[in-house]
């Protein structure tokens, strides 16, 4: 039998290969796995092996020749070797290319005949040759029986005990197996880290420590679904990042009052300043501005991992004590949708954490936000972020100037 060795396809982009060097001569005996030639693809030089035993009958190309992939390059006579070695069925390196049309009718230049790449030859012969998988006994689907055999799960026995349903499916087998091989804590870890239980050798009870070791060794991240609040914050800040903003950095005098939270004071003072500057009470809608009479201020409130911009409405009408009561109530309750909308300016205060100075992102459709740092020697640093579409530098400067004066005095307190 003649066995043709073909130019192998060494990369997706390779359509030709260069025969660099023959390693055999005509008449040489070759064994399965022997290197017979070196070929150069568009990427590298590789060795070509024979997949059958035999004698080199003919070398079809010369060294240095370029030939298309899948073209025969040598013929091995397998009969010559047959007498000594038992014929072995070996997969060939590449399937033979689809039968080429020898038709006299060639397609015209404009046409390119498609070749079936997705179509695969029948695999029944191949299936018949591969041994059937080991299957567990019991009433279960084929996939479940196969998996149960792999995992050492006795479907029949467990069904007799009523521990597995009839018929059993893959999911039930795996759940059962994992319960069997993992401690409850280890199973929880698998879930938290979205680890496939198949990563572990299932021949002993696996505890949390073993799973933890795996997590550390391979630096597996824990997957945490984002909360609704986090997704809302992301949307809000992403929107804020598209706004054309600029900053004004200031330092205000501040006099704190016994029994009043600093945030309450900041809200009150800012609300008063906003009354003098209509643009800070404005909302941009298309090509119009909606200017509201009240100072409605969104206040950044952190609750655990969550962040809310809660709106203190009509802040200019409220007394400092009323605002303070409102601020103190924030930690204890949840917020309605109405309480989270309707503001035009924001406040964020990180001073209590010792932060000297920072800048904040503008909330939703607000036109600006004031970020307050820590109080030091009767002074508080503040960074204003303004939406330039609504307030020009001068508008903002006048507002900040008035706010600075208001912070100095005892007005409205």
């Amino acid at each position: 039998m003649d066995y043709k060795i073909i130019m192998p396809v060494l990369s997706d982009t390779m359509d030709k290969g260069k025969l660099v060097r023959w390693r055999v001569h005509k008449g040489d005996m070759v064994h399965k796995g022997d290197v017979i030639a070196e070929v150069e693809s568009d990427k590298a030089i590789m060795e070509v092996q024979s997949f059958k035993d035999g004698v080199v009958k003919k070398l079809l190309v010369k060294e240095g020749d370029e030939v298309p992939v899948k073209a025969p390059i040598a013929i091995i006579d397998t009969e010559a070797e047959m007498a000594q070695t038992e014929q072995q069925k070996q997969p060939e390196i590449v399937q033979h290319p689809k039968e080429q049309s020898t038709s006299t009718q060639k397609p015209k230049a404009a046409l390119k005949e498609p070749t079936p790449t997705a179509a695969v030859p029948p695999v029944i012969e191949e299936l018949l040759q591969t041994p059937a998988p080991k299957l567990a006994e019991g009433d279960a689907t084929p996939a479940a029986k196969k998996r149960a055999a792999e995992l050492g799960i006795d479907i029949k026995g467990l069904q007799a005990e009523g521990k597995l349903p009839k018929p059993a499916h893959l999911k039930e087998i795996e759940t059962e197996a994992f319960r069997h091989y993992f401690t409850p804590k280890a199973l929880r870890l698998l879930q938290e880290y979205q680890l496939d239980a198949k990563l572990f050798t299932l021949d002993h009870k696996i505890n949390a420590a073993e799973v933890e070791n795996y997590i550390k060794e391979y630096n597996i991240p824990k997957t945490v679904s984002l909360s609704k609040n986090r997704i809302a914050v992301m949307k809000n800040v992403q929107n804020a990042a598209t706004k054309p903003v600029y900053f004004i950095f200031e330092e205000f005098d501040i006099k704190e009052y016994e029994g009043i939270k600093l945030t309450s004071l900041l809200i009150k003072k800012l609300a008063t300043a906003m009354q003098k500057h209509p643009l800070t009470r404005a909302k941009l809608e298309g090509t119009t501005l909606k200017i509201y009479p009240h100072s409605n201020i969104s206040v950044a409130v952190a609750k655990g991992d969550e962040l809310y911009m809660v709106v203190c409405k009509r802040a200019e009408e409220k007394s400092l004590q009323e605002i303070d009561a409102w601020v103190r109530g924030l930690k204890e309750r949840t917020f309605t949708a109405d309480e989270l909308t309707g503001s035009t300016f924001g406040i964020s205060n990180l001073g209590m954490f010792g932060v000297q100075r920072f800048s904040a992102m503008i909330n939703q459709s607000d036109v600006g936000i004031a970020a307050f740092g820590a109080v030091q020697n009767g002074k508080i640093s503040v960074t204003f972020t303004f939406d330039h579409r609504v307030l020009n530098g001068v508008d903002a400067a006048l507002f900040v100037h008035d706010a600075k004066e208001i912070f100095k005095g005892d007005d409205n307190v």
């Binding site: 039968e99 049309s101 020898t102 038709s103 006299t104 009718q105 397609p107 015209k108 404009a110 046409l111 390119k112 005949e113 498609p114 079936p116 790449t117 997705a118 179509a119 695969v120 695999v123 029944i124 299936l127 998988p133 299957l135 689907t141 084929p142 996939a143 479940a144 029986k145 196969k146 349903p165 499916h169 893959l170 999911k171 039930e172």
Partner: protein
């Protein structure tokens, strides 16, 4: 782009590029085709390349085969697949076998377009889906175009192929406006993964693609699962590679076809899956197909005889609950 426009564009562009391409069939010329697929081509290419034939299907295909042997690249239109039975001998005994009988010396670069399927009240003799017949014939290629993109690229590929292609279209699709996607590389024999999912594979083709896609959200919602949808595109050869990858992932398969269940094309697909992917299956495969009756004329009965989105959803939900989903 309308589905019929995609087909028209494919034929037009191929005819412009290669003058050996001709079309022939009943009313394809002056009338522009029963479903307006060849509209405008008669005026553009004239009666020698756009040929109106008598009502004689055997002669349409017979003539087309003769043209192909003599060096042309004909596109024959059979008004509906129901009438193709008259041309069966030419298609099966001649077009499909010629390359083989001539020892590969001659090929038949012929495309036979056939609209089919259940339309609206065309009654039993005009409502069949005979893809199962042609898909069983060695020597034929059978393509089924469910959408404008495949209609355009698939038909072009069919015309370019050197072997006879039965190109199936569905009568209800012609006037539909569809999204058209430009593609760089096109393989007519590759199935399309219309939607990615992980718990269940639904295999379908032609018009049922749309009924399936309509049913899918309801099934996913009811069973709390995610569904993968495959549109076969090519019925012969069948893209088992795409099917295998999907079924090995989801472990469950449902086939939805409009044809009668007994001996329908879906039976072949499910048989192959059972043979080749048995140990991947975590549930018995389900076939949702037309009833084993001649398609009724009465609209209510007509709809009762074929799968609809509601029936598809209902059957899969019931099957899923029973089989551990």
């Amino acid at each position: 782009m309308l589905y019929r426009e995609a087909l028209n564009r494919a034929i037009d562009e191929m005819m412009a590029a290669d003058e050996s391409i001709v079309i022939l069939g009943e009313d394809v010329g002056r009338y522009g085709g029963s479903y307006r697929v060849s509209e405008g081509l008669f005026a553009k290419y004239g009666p020698k390349r756009v040929i109106d034939t008598p009502i004689a299907e055997l002669s349409i295909v017979g003539n087309a085969i003769g043209m192909a042997i003599a060096g042309l690249r004909p596109i024959a239109e059979i008004m509906t697949i129901n009438f193709s039975l008259l041309a069966m001998d030419q298609i099966v005994n001649h077009a499909a076998k010629f390359r083989y009988m001539s020892g590969g010396k001659m090929t038949i670069p012929l495309t036979i377009r056939m609209p089919g399927g259940v339309s609206r009240q065309l009654a039993a003799q005009h409502s069949e889906s005979y893809e199962t017949l042609y898909s069983a014939i060695p020597g034929l290629i059978v393509l089924a175009a469910s959408n404008a993109t495949y209609a355009y690229y698939g038909l072009k590929a069919a015309i370019a192929l050197n072997d006879p292609v039965v190109f199936l279209e569905h009568e209800l699709l012609y006037p539909l406006e569809m999204e058209f996607k430009e593609v760089d590389t096109f393989d007519p024999f590759k199935a399309e993964i219309v939607k990615v999912g992980k718990d269940l594979t639904i295999i379908t083709y032609l018009k049922m693609r749309y009924d399936v896609l309509e049913a899918v959200p309801k099934i996913e919602d009811e069973l709390g699962i995610s569904i993968e949808v495959i549109d076969l595109n090519s019925l012969r050869p069948l893209d088992m590679k795409t099917i295998a990858a999907s079924v090995q992932k989801t472990k469950r398969v449902v086939l939805v076809e409009e044809d009668h269940k007994t001996g329908g094309y879906g039976a072949e697909v499910i048989a192959k899956i059972s043979e080749e992917l048995f140990y991947s299956l975590d549930a018995p495969p389900l076939r949702i197909a037309g009833e084993d009756v001649p398609i009724p004329y009465n609209r209510t009965l007509e709809l009762a005889s074929i799968p609809t989105p509601d029936k598809i959803a209902q059957k899969i939900i019931q099957w899923g609950r029973k089989n551990g989903l």
